[in-house]
């Protein structure tokens, strides 16, 4: 049966050149694995790809979500680059992404190294550190609004006061200079455990013999991490950096629930701007243009990341 469905390529005289490659690729798409994937792909195409691609056309219109639409060329895109709030939100989005990628992965790696060690409570700790990742981001944001209560005797300020660090009390979400970093803090708190799990999977795959050999050679703990563990963690690093970058670039829930982009526009991100443009202001055309730019930007950054990070992975 297999031979009837997919004749062994070796038995065929391989036609040379590009035409042969195209034919081989065509044959691959008609092979049984694709048959099984086809229903799921058809549904995916119907409910995700088709609406997404057909929505692109709205980026070139002035549609308000209710009435007729008329094409306005590239007006929405030129508006995007002239729009002070959108430009500010792009800067905020990039700052948040850099902060989240760096801190979340650093904390995740430290947690993974900690719970990978042979300590008694490591299973419990793994669950505890991962637990916030399964909670809805909106719930986490509401919880942190209480933690970030600006009163001197409540939440984080209360703890700082109690341990003699009252001078560090802040208006965490109300201070325009601090709001996005406070949001970054809550995102890191929630998803550092998620990064930890991916690093942990990588650590489990590092052969113990390599560590033993390095120890026999007299390598210190740091040298073993730097020259044995770290290179073998490269696939986990790739996945973590990519996921946290994408998560940072399209950050919405936490910002919307915690500050709604305020105070003023101090914590506005591209996602909150596109949401407001569509559902608060009724500028669906402009909002689609922002969404399109954001999608292309996320895709470009992800591809660049994959290209560079895959290159440093150890086979």
């Amino acid at each position: 049966m297999t031979s009837t469905l997919r004749p062994a390529p070796a038995k065929r005289a391989a036609p040379p050149g590009a035409a042969a490659r195209r034919r081989r690729r065509g044959a691959r798409f008609l092979s049984p694995p694709w048959w099984f994937a086809a229903p799921a792909l058809a549904i995916y195409a119907l409910v995700v790809l088709y609406p997404s691609l057909s929505g692109i056309v709205y980026a070139f219109t002035d549609w308000n979500g209710l009435g007729e639409r008329s094409f306005n060329g590239l007006a929405n895109f030129s508006k995007l680059f002239d729009d002070e709030a959108a430009r500010g939100s792009l800067v905020n989005t990039l700052l948040l992404t850099v902060a989240i990628v760096l801190v979340q992965n650093a904390v995740g790696l430290l947690l993974a190294l900690g719970v990978h060690a042979k300590i008694k409570s490591r299973t419990v700790l793994r669950v505890v550190f991962f637990a916030p990742a399964v909670v809805s981001p909106v719930m986490v944001a509401f919880l942190w609004k209480y933690i970030y209560n600006p009163s001197p005797d409540a939440g984080l300020n209360g703890i700082l006061g109690a341990v003699g660090l009252g001078g560090l009390r802040q208006d965490w979400l109300g201070n325009p200079d601090l709001a996005i970093w406070s949001i970054a803090g809550m995102v890191v708190w929630q998803f550092a455990g998620y990064s930890m799990v991916i690093f942990l999977a990588g650590l489990e795959g590092v052969p113990a013999e390599l560590h033993e050999a390095a120890m026999i050679d007299g390598a210190s703990r740091w040298q073993r991490f730097r020259h044995v563990t770290w290179p073998l963690l490269a696939p986990a690093v790739t996945i973590n950096l990519m996921l946290s970058t994408i998560g940072g670039l399209k950050l919405f829930d936490q910002v919307y629930a915690a500050t709604n982009g305020g105070p003023g526009h101090a914590s506005e991100t591209l996602s909150t701007v596109l949401y407001k443009q569509a559902f608060v202001f009724g500028n669906y055309g402009y909002s689609t243009a922002i969404a399109l730019v954001l999608a292309l930007f996320v895709a470009a950054v992800s591809m660049i990341q994959i290209h560079y990070l895959r290159g440093r992975e150890v086979a």
Binding site: L5, L46, G65, S151, P176, K276, F279, F281, Y284
Partner: protein, 430 residues
């Protein structure tokens, strides 16, 4: 079975064709489901009508739906932002609920004017209750002379205050701006926060300006909105500047709690209800929440914020409360309109108004008005009340711009002149 697989090219093509066919049928079926609306109605014939409203409307609607027997309703309620997102999308797709929430006037994406302009709201002008709409409130209900909104009445913005804190400080509700500042000063000297401000909840930022602008703008120039639309007036050259200056004066004198931009509505409510703060400038619709948070609901009362030094020049904001409209493209237009006609009966308006602590659109001897709102009635009866400012703004971006500039003013990030310029720029957007 095996042989059919054996004819690989044909079966693959057949399989893919079948899959594509199923997908195409699915797409066609989906399209058919969203395009079936027709105007006119009358075809419902005992159908269950869909009603989507905001959480604030749940209490009165549940009460009145129980008594309405002519049609069956499937009602759902959600917070304003969620309803705004879902209902507007349904309106755009042509499958809006038969009866749905509509915001009065203009100035928001779900406002009466913007939806009616797209031809998506049924005309209610032939209903008896529409003849009783007070002239001053007609812009909130009508576009081009036709009524598209049902609303049970008006809520007001004023100072919700804790009577115990006022008594301890030995002060009474003020009637002029100078008296208001004196009251705040005396409360501050007693070690209490005079005004709790939860400006992190963005819509709360607008309430102090809204409380002052009727006196600083409309008492002097009742035609301000018309002049704004005509382009002959601006925020920058009007009493809006005075209102912002007065807002910031309260902050400068230390009458707000610390860090208002980091304080939420819930924290503001708790501060007044527990007596940590003396008052909050708020809309009367939130009175039930303040009462719930207080150990004794009778400790709370309300007074109009005097935005002028001459008590005769004090005006108040009284905005039409969020209402309902009928989808013009629904299948049950007549049944839906009949329900709104039922809601428009005076006794039902009274019951709705009582449930949400607002002043009924029209009053009769049976109207029960929340005692804390009684100090506002003389202003309403003397035509010294104006709708909430955003209800007359021409686009949905001005109100959020107002939220943002107030937060920036409180955070010292902008000046009054720049804030007003930003509002003018946003107002002129097409």
């Amino acid at each position: 079975m095996t042989s059919s697989y054996g004819t690989a090219a044909l079966s693959r093509r057949g399989f893919l064709g079948l899959t594509g066919g199923v997908a195409a049928m699915g797409a066609l079926a989906a399209c058919g489901g969203t395009s079936g609306g027709s105007s006119g109605g009358g075809g419902g014939g005992g159908a269950t009508l869909r009603l989507v409203a905001v959480a604030d409307q749940q209490k009165p609607l549940e009460l009145l739906l129980k008594e309405y027997t002519k049609s069956k309703f499937s009602a759902s309620y959600a917070p304003t932002d969620q309803v705004q997102t879902s209902v507007r999308t349904q309106l755009g797709a042509g499958n809006a609920p038969d009866v749905h929430v509509v915001f009065p006037g203009d100035g928001s994406a779900m406002s009466m004017a913007q939806i009616a302009q797209a031809g998506l709201l049924a005309d209610l002008s032939d209903q008896a209750w529409t003849k009783r709409i007070p002239p001053g409130l007609k812009p909130a209900f009508q576009k081009d002379g036709k009524t598209f909104l049902y609303s049970a009445g008006s809520s007001v913005i004023g100072a919700i205050y804790n009577k115990k804190v006022f008594q301890e400080a030995g002060v009474e509700p003020p009637t002029t701006w100078s008296e208001f500042l004196d009251v705040c000063e005396k409360i501050k000297k007693k070690g209490k926060v005079p005004i709790a401000l939860g400006a992190q909840t963005q819509w709360v930022t607008q309430l102090i300006t809204y409380a002052l602008v009727p006196s600083t703008v409309y008492a002097k120039n009742p035609k301000f909105d018309e002049q704004m639309r005509a382009g002959s007036a601006s925020f920058a050259n009007s009493g809006w500047k005075d209102a912002f200056d007065m807002y910031l004066e309260l902050q400068k004198r230390g009458y707000f709690n610390d860090n208002p931009n980091g304080t939420t509505l819930e924290q503001q409510t708790s501060m007044v209800a527990t007596g940590k703060a003396a008052m909050a400038i708020q809309v009367s619709a939130v009175l039930p929440d303040f009462r719930k948070a207080a150990s004794n609901a009778d400790d709370l009362d309300m007074f109009p914020v005097p935005g002028a030094d001459d008590a005769n020049q004090v005006w108040v904001p009284a905005g039409v409360v969020v209402g309902l409209g009928v989808s013009a493209r629904g299948k049950n237009v007549d049944e839906a309109k009949a329900f709104l006609e039922f809601l428009g009966q005076q006794q039902n308006m009274n019951r709705w108004a009582e449930a949400v602590a607002c002043v009924p659109l029209t009053r009769d001897s049976a109207s029960k008005i929340d005692p804390v709102l009684k100090s506002f009635l003389p202003f309403i009866d003397a035509n010294k009340a104006v709708p909430f400012m955003d209800q007359n703004w021409p686009n949905a971006e001005i109100q959020p711009a107002h939220f943002a500039v107030v937060q920036e003013l409180l955070g010292g990030r902008t000046t009054v002149a720049k804030a007003l310029a930003k509002l003018d720029e946003t107002y002129r957007k097409k």
